[in-house]
């Protein structure tokens, strides 16, 4: 009986005592307090410490000594951003209303852009129908090839509009899906497009989530399936054109498309960004976004640093001078042969 009463009273007392502590969470602009808060949020939630061999404790020791109570918001924001850059993750962003957004762009360095909008406008988008500013579609090479440019998966496209687009491609021999410079957006949007290219439910990858605050606390990989759309399907050849700026949801799109039987990935290595990001905040009101759930490919491998194309092609200066896109031309050549 006493034990039972203790079981009731102890949590109640704990809650009451905790409720007293809650009100310590007040607005706080102390650089030290905010730095420690940022470090702790990342420490307890970030998902790629082990994969990237990041020693977060030593990073704390390195950056902590540069935090001073008198430093300006600008300096604090800069030092915090530099610390976050150690994670080499474009999904890790510190944001402040007056400082803007920090964004790691090291993943872009050393890769060709493989993308020239002037060439596309002059040659391939010139008679295209624009679904909106971001999504364009066209029939090229004497109506033999269907071409879709999807510039951002932040933009959605309705199923009925996808139906219309695929209807106009019904006599084409193949389709080019150009997702270059598509920095991501919503997986729902990318899945809507990908679901047009398969006839049966297909295993396309896995997802894991953190089960606790430890760096190794992860769930078992949970399978991700892609199901075919109930509308018009395209089961003939498809080439997806990529470059390094294919990031986040676009990286996920490429990872899924790569599994499908009639699909070839052509162009450059994607940018990665396979961690599903969450958002939290600091005592001074700055927000912090970070990767929490790694999405793995069908072989349970990380794609955080990008996905290699099946066929690597680079945009050449000679083709640019002739208003030609080397990647599209190579895709056309493959589809027509």
């Amino acid at each position: 009986m006493i034990r039972y009463i203790t079981h009731i009273l102890c949590p109640a007392m704990l809650c009451i005592s905790l409720s007293g502590c809650e009100f310590e969470d007040e607005y706080n602009v102390s650089p030290r307090r905010n730095f420690e808060s940022l470090w702790k949020i990342i420490d307890e939630n970030y998902c790629f410490f082990e994969y990237k061999s990041v020693d977060w404790d030593s990073i704390h020791a390195q950056y902590s000594q540069e935090i001073e109570e008198q430093m300006s918001d600008y300096d604090l924001f800069r030092r915090m951003s530099e610390m976050l850059d150690e994670l080499q993750d474009g999904h890790v962003n510190l944001q402040s209303s007056n400082m803007g957004v920090s964004s790691y762009d090291g993943w872009l360095r050393g890769y060709p852009s493989n993308f020239n909008t002037d060439v596309l406008r002059n040659t391939y988008w010139s008679r295209s129908q624009n679904y909106n500013d971001i999504i364009k579609h066209n029939r090229i090479v004497d109506n033999q090839i269907g071409y879709i440019y999807y510039g951002s998966f932040k933009e959605s496209i309705l199923e009925k509009d996808l139906d219309n687009i695929f209807s106009t491609f019904s006599y084409c021999r193949g389709i080019i899906i150009d997702v270059r410079d598509n920095g991501g957006g919503s997986i729902t949007n990318s899945d809507r497009l990908a679901s047009r290219f398969l006839s049966e439910k297909t295993l396309c990858g896995y997802i894991r989530h953190k089960t606790g605050k430890g760096h190794d606390d992860f769930s078992d990989p949970y399978p991700i399936y892609l199901s075919p759309s109930h509308a018009n399907l395209w089961l003939r050849p498809v080439i997806v054109i990529t470059n390094r700026r294919c990031y986040s949801a676009t990286n996920n799109f490429v990872s899924k498309m790569k599994v499908l039987p009639n699909v070839t990935i052509l162009g450059g290595r994607t940018g990665g960004g396979s961690g599903f990001p969450f958002t939290s905040e600091l005592p001074n009101g700055w927000s912090i976004r970070f990767s929490t759930s790694p999405i793995l490919d069908v072989d349970k491998q990380h794609t955080e640093f990008g996905i290699d194309p099946d066929i690597e092609v680079e945009l050449t200066d000679e083709d640019i001078k002739e208003n030609k896109d080397t990647l599209i031309e190579e895709a056309i050549r493959i589809l027509l042969n």
Binding site: P11, S19, T211, G212, F276, P277, F278, S280, E281
Partner: protein, 283 residues
């Protein structure tokens, strides 16, 4: 685990059985129904959304019905409370909002112990169902924390009638304390995308008890009769704490309540035709 489920099911059966017995009574018993609006403060923290407290206001509408039942020769009463609560709170820096909306329903059966002529002590069990969400306006992929709880709890009420000059007042204190049940409890870092788009919902329901949840409602009211109705003024303190899968949540609200109460008799078809007892204008 099986014992807990059996206990919850048996308790629910008992509550339903008591509910069924209430319909056999021949003598009409009056129903006390109050509808109150409440305004006050709200303090919310859900570490799935943010590590910080959000403070702001809350508004609620509460409807309660209470009636004695035939079981135990009138020594038991049934109380039903439906409560809708909305909140708007801000983070410490006051640049982000959390909006909350919760609906809860409780069905309680009390054993009535009269103590003297003006004091009644009511003790019993309650079944409680709560659903709602907290929505954070800034978070991208984790904007929402859903709450679904089904509990059994203890319910204690004290009623005290007094007179100030010629004005009869009724004071009430009621406490509800859930002691066990089940609730929606997603794993630490799981996204709603993984749960609801990809279907990984295997570990999202958990049993709750005092080890991972503490919730309590404290309810003070005073009824002041005004003509055929009564004005009910009150204070409702609602506490909800949970600590599961390293996600801490609290929802604390203080509401000042005001509303009206009426006492009426609900008649079934047979009894309403008994014109010797009730003079019905319809039948």
């Amino acid at each position: 685990m099986k014992r807990i489920i059996t206990f919850i099911l048996l308790s629910l059966c008992m509550v339903c059985r008591l509910a069924g017995q209430g319909d056999e009574e021949e003598i009409p018993r009056s129903m006390n129904e109050g509808t109150l609006l409440g305004f006050g403060t709200s303090n919310i923290k859900d570490t799935y959304l943010s590590p910080f407290n959000y403070n702001g206001w809350g508004a609620r509408i509460l409807n309660e019905r209470m009636k004695t039942i035939s079981a135990g020769k009138g020594r038991f009463s049934r109380q039903q409370i439906i409560n809708v609560d909305i909140t708007s709170t801000k983070n410490p820096a006051e640049n982000v909002n959390d909006f909350g909306a919760f609906v809860d329903y409780s069905l309680s059966y009390h054993y009535r112990i009269p103590i003297g002529s003006s004091f009644k002590l009511l003790t019993g069990l309650s079944a409680h169902l709560m659903g709602g969400f907290i929505y954070n306006t800034r978070n991208g992929n984790n904007p929402l924390s859903a709450k679904v709880d089904i509990d059994l709890g203890l319910s204690v009420m004290m009623l005290y009638g007094l007179r100030i000059k010629n004005l009869p007042l009724t004071l009430r204190y009621q406490a509800e304390l859930p002691f066990g049940g089940i609730f929606f409890s997603p794993p630490y870092g799981i996204s709603y995308y993984e749960m609801f788009n990809e279907g990984n919902t295997s570990d999202v329901i958990a049993f709750n008890s005092f080890r991972n949840k503490f919730a309590m409602k404290n309810y003070f009211t005073v009824d002041i009769p005004i003509r055929r109705f009564a004005l009910r003024l009150g204070y409702l303190n609602s506490l909800y704490y949970s600590d599961t899968n390293e996600i801490n949540t609290h929802i604390i609200s203080h509401s000042f309540m005001i509303g009206w109460v009426k006492e009426f008799i609900v008649l079934g078809g047979k009894r309403s035709n008994n014109k010797s007892r009730v003079n019905s204008s319809y039948y």
